[in-house]
């Protein structure tokens, strides 16, 4: 299978695939994750602080996003919303879909981490006269963020791969470009394996970053 022609195709296509990876997949991931994480923090805080009115709204949001396929969400935003008069370019549409998705899942990660901060420490904070906001900022959140690092990296790595779904709405990210080359060269096996390897490289780098982050946060000793 790996004859000279295939090797040539692989060599020629490598940068053709890697470049949209750098110009599309990575920025799409970073921007969506940043927005999603911000959303997640707000959603988690609304829930643990039980903010009136907002609490049922964010619960509904998490319920809908977690209960429907990401691909369907992407289609609704890009192909569906124009019928309601909202026309979005493919990249912003993808960013909105991914951010909403990360926001819902990561909010549950954060909420679980917040709830796992020992009640005794929270009461110890109150016992020295702290108010709710001080307890949240000084005791709950620092510990919750630390505990959330591994599962948040999980979401982050998941998102890198999920960005391939944006190919369905004409975003020229890595997978879209690979599909085009595969169709032209009739070498789907080699090319899809090649793009898989590139995703694997991206995710391996992220795993290393996670490892370094955990080390600097001294997460190993717990």
């Amino acid at each position: 299978m790996f004859n000279e022609r295939v090797i040539n195709i692989l060599q020629e296509s490598f940068f053709k695939i890697l470049i949209p990876g750098i110009t599309h997949t990575i920025p799409l991931t970073l921007v969506s994750f940043a927005i999603g994480l911000f959303l997640a923090i707000v959603v988690a805080l609304v829930q643990v602080s039980n903010v009136r009115i907002l609490n049922p709204i964010v619960k509904f949001y998490v319920w809908v996003i977690r209960g429907t396929p990401l691909l369907v969400q992407i289609f609704i935003i890009f192909f569906g919303l124009p019928s309601a008069g909202i026309v979005l370019d493919s990249v912003p549409a993808a960013i909105i879909a991914f951010s909403l998705n990360v926001g819902a899942y990561a909010s549950e990660t954060l909420r679980a981490a917040i709830l796992s901060v020992p009640l005794g420490q929270i009461e110890a904070g109150y016992s020295i006269g702290m108010n709710y906001f001080q307890v949240l900022r000084r005791i709950i959140l620092p510990q919750a963020f630390k505990m959330s690092v591994p599962p948040l990296f999980n979401s982050f790595i998941g998102l890198v791969k999920d960005t391939s779904l944006a190919a369905n709405i004409t975003v020229t990210e890595m997978f879209m470009v690979t599909q085009r080359i595969a169709a032209k060269t009739f070498e789907p096996l080699a090319l899809y394996c090649e793009v898989a390897v590139i995703y694997l490289i991206f995710c391996t780098v992220l795993s290393k970053v996670q490892h370094m982050a955990e080390k600097s946060l001294k997460l190993e000793q717990g």
């Binding site: 020992p118 009461e123 110890a124 016992s127 702290m130 001080q134 005791i139 620092p142």
Partner: protein, 245 residues
């Protein structure tokens, strides 16, 4: 003086504290004893407002709080009151993401808005008092239980509270670690801190307790000096005083 008048606390249908009337003298050590489930922890938590009494009144050195189910207390008043009371818990509850000295500085810096340098200097002095200056930069998990509890005492002292509350401060400790914690509480009693301590250690209660309160089913059955309780002729109290050493 800490005055408690007609204080009651229910958890749903369970009457945990019923019409407690109690005067806790300043610069004295008050010991609370009683069977498991009699409401000792709840009473202490009410004195720190970690639990809000349903009804009654608490007056700490002239500042009075009245509890009324139809009129919840202002948050401001609760926070101001808590700054004046220090609590030491059964299982320490040190902030695990902060070093020993940071644990002690937390209250002065965050709540009292003290400068970091001042808070640090005072914190180090307190650490010296509890014999742990060399542990200032360790994390709680690196300390023994007895050391953690001594840090927790220093953390409470850092707020310069008007009353110090201890809830079975040594019951989570091995006997040899217990001694070092009791040593510190004994020293604080000698320095005339106002102390309220829940304990099952009768020898210790006898030694440091200026006033001993016997709680049963959420009511004060008897109070007085150890001798007064011992000679009260109440068989339940006697058995309690003599079986638990």
């Amino acid at each position: 003086m800490l005055q408690i008048k007609n204080l009651s606390k229910n958890y749903e249908d369970l009457k945990v504290l019923e019409q407690i009337d109690l005067e806790i003298e300043s610069n004295k050590t008050t010991v609370i004893i009683g069977p498991s489930g009699s409401g000792k922890t709840t009473l202490l938590r009410c004195l720190n407002l970690l639990a809000i009494p349903d009804i009654g009144e608490i007056d700490l050195n002239g500042v009075s709080l009245t509890f009324d189910p139809n009129q919840p207390l202002q948050k401001r008043k609760i926070l101001d009151y808590r700054k004046k009371t220090g609590m030491v818990f059964q299982s320490f509850h040190l902030f695990s993401h902060r070093t020993v000295i940071e644990n002690i500085m937390e209250g002065p810096v965050t709540v009292l808005k003290k400068g970091k340098a001042d808070a640090m200097a005072e914190g180090m002095a307190l650490l010296k008092k509890v014999g742990l200056e060399d542990k200032a930069n360790q994390y709680p998990r690196q300390l023994s239980g007895g050391q953690q509890q001594r840090v927790a005492i220093a953390r409470a002292l850092a707020m310069k509270p008007e009353v110090l509350l201890f809830d079975e401060p040594t019951s989570a400790l091995d006997p040899e670690l217990e001694i070092e914690v009791l040593e510190i509480i004994r020293a604080l009693a000698k320095e005339h801190y106002t102390i309220v301590i829940v304990t099952h250690k009768m020898t210790f209660a006898k030694e440091v307790g200026d006033n001993i309160i016997f709680l049963e089913n959420g009511r004060i059955l008897k109070q007085g000096s150890y001798a007064e309780l011992y000679h009260s002729g109440n068989e339940r109290i006697n058995r309690f005083l003599t079986t638990l050493q």
